[in-house]
């Protein structure tokens, strides 16, 4: 029963959602609305599991005086500090004249936003480094890729340093590559991926794929 009930649930829910996709009846839409709401509730709850994991590992490291423990303590402080402010605000215990999320927004704008965007901005440096150290035209495939990449890079920017004809030429080459060759390649990849999804989804909905419920 340990395995059978979950598989039955997957199959039943999968078939109901599939039915709702094709059936225009009001009942099927109600089933769809309810089940998709369930999924998003579970999605939200599952996030708590992630937090639980993070807290457990960090507390373990703090109590074991791992060399990085002060950082882990800082992590916990930020996590619970922000969580408390947010919860107090959501439930109206603290209020600001600048709206019901003003405290959260302040932290978000001043801390979360610069950190997240800077993390991604680091990649500009890594691309430059990889361009020099790792991107080798060692095969026909890699050569084509790098050449097409260079042409697209040139076609994406204004080229005020060159005569206008040069800029127009790269923009045209880029437009051609994107609109025709890239469109063909993208279509093939998209259709292939859709077939992969269809195959895997169908195996799951029909109860043939059970590896995600490993014992």
């Amino acid at each position: 029963m340990k395995r059978e009930i979950p598989i039955a649930l997957t199959v039943i829910c999968g078939l109901l959602i599939t039915w709702a996709f094709f059936s225009p009846s009001e009942l099927s839409q109600a089933v769809n609305v309810e089940l998709t709401a369930w999924a998003s509730i579970f999605f939200a709850v599952a996030f708590l599991l992630g937090i639980g994991n993070l807290v457990r590992i960090s507390l373990k490291q703090i109590s074991a005086r791992h060399p990085d423990w002060p950082y882990k303590a800082l992590l916990m402080l930020m996590l619970f500090g922000y969580l408390s402010i947010g919860l107090l605000e959501i439930h109206g215990v603290i209020e600001s004249e600048y709206g019901d999320k003003a405290y959260q927004d302040w932290i978000y704008e001043r801390i979360f936003k610069p950190l997240q965007s800077t993390m991604f901005a680091l990649l500009a440096f890594y691309i430059a480094s990889a361009a020099f150290r790792a991107f080798r035209a060692r095969s026909m495939e890699a050569t084509l890729l790098l050449t097409a990449g260079a042409l697209v890079m040139l076609g994406q920017v204004p080229l005020p340093i060159a005569p206008p004809e040069v800029g127009a030429f790269f923009a045209r080459v880029q437009g051609f590559l994107m609109a025709y060759v890239n469109a063909a390649g993208q279509s093939a990849i998209i259709m292939g991926a859709a077939l992969g999804t269809l195959a895997t989804g169908l195996r799951i909905v029909l109860g043939l794929e059970r590896s995600y419920l490993s014992e």
Binding site: I90, Q116, A121, A188
Partner: protein, 299 residues
């Protein structure tokens, strides 16, 4: 409007909670410090980066948790059930579920079951091998895979195939001819015909490259080779766009550092600009560390 202008005129406060206002002084220094700390990782892993990293994980996790709590728990469970409970007692009452008039009692029970399943998911926190979380996970897997399966087959397979079916030859070729004067090269029927043929051949060849269980003779081998060429040019195009995106983000960060060096954040003096001071501070500390370590190894 007038309030907005007034805010811009007013002196910058140390801490301003107004989300539309200019950045406050503490906020500006904080943003600057965190940005530069992350950039310091380019030199090497160091305590500043570690501070930034752990703050990031803490705040980020809390931020998402709050969002999911409000939109995934409070609203669909508490508020939804409260709404149903309001009409439940009335005779002949119904509750609209996606346009379908459901019996309020049934709607209530359904959502209560969802809440119980949610709690079952949480048991994983205490006993990792429990059977209980599998039920809600199974529901999620079923719902997600069925939605993906139907939606993607429709849009990415059936409609994608339909969208690809375009005439090879533009319809106006009879009127204007294959290579009319005064038209951009890309708009001439001859060019368009060749380009359309490239799409058709490209799609066929690239799809054929993904044929796995077909005997690979000379024909399929050659077709697949052309497919590889198409795929590589496609990857090249994506590569070009990735470079575009990453550099754009870097420019944005630099832009913000420049914005933060406004005198407003530096107590009205050009000498106390946060980016300059913090760069000196971080770089200085790291150099000091490096020198100390060198001395340590020398002795």
């Amino acid at each position: 409007m007038s309030s907005m202008l007034a805010l811009q005129d007013a002196a910058t406060p140390f801490v301003s909670l107004d989300p539309n206002g200019p950045v406050d002084i503490i906020g500006a220094w904080l943003m600057c410090f965190l940005t530069l700390s992350v950039f310091s990782f380019l030199y090497k892993d160091n305590p500043f980066y570690k501070v930034a990293e752990h703050v990031f994980v803490g705040v980020g996790t809390a931020y998402f948790a709050l969002q999911y709590y409000k939109e995934g728990i409070l609203e669909p469970v508490r508020d939804h059930m409260y709404d149903i409970a309001e009409v439940m007692g009335e005779p002949g009452a119904s509750f609209s579920l996606g346009g379908y008039d459901a019996d309020p009692t049934i709607a209530f029970i359904l959502r209560a079951v969802a809440a119980i399943f949610g709690l079952m998911l949480l048991t994983r926190l205490f006993s990792p091998n429990s059977w209980a979380p599998r039920w809600p996970l199974a529901v999620m897997v079923g719902v997600y895979s069925a939605l993906k399966l139907t939606g993607e087959t429709q849009s990415k397979l059936v409609l994608q195939t339909k969208g690809l079916m375009k005439p090879l030859v533009p319809e106006n070729v009879g009127e204007v001819g294959w290579f009319p004067d005064g038209v951009a090269l890309e708009s001439t029927p001859l060019f368009l015909t060749i380009a359309n043929a490239i799409v058709v051949i490209g799609v066929i060849c690239a799809l054929s490259h993904f044929l796995f269980t077909w005997k690979r003779g000379r024909t399929l081998g050659a077709v697949s080779r052309v497919g590889i060429i198409v795929l590589m040019i496609t990857f090249g195009s994506m590569f070009g766009f990735t470079v575009l995106g990453r550099i754009a983000l870097l420019i944005e960060r630099v832009n913000e550092l420049f914005d933060l060096s406004e005198p407003d954040y530096a107590f009205g003096t050009p000498f106390l600009s946060p980016p300059v001071i913090l760069t000196v501070l971080i770089a200085g500390t790291l150099t000091l560390f490096a020198l100390q370590r060198k001395e340590g190894t020398d002795s």
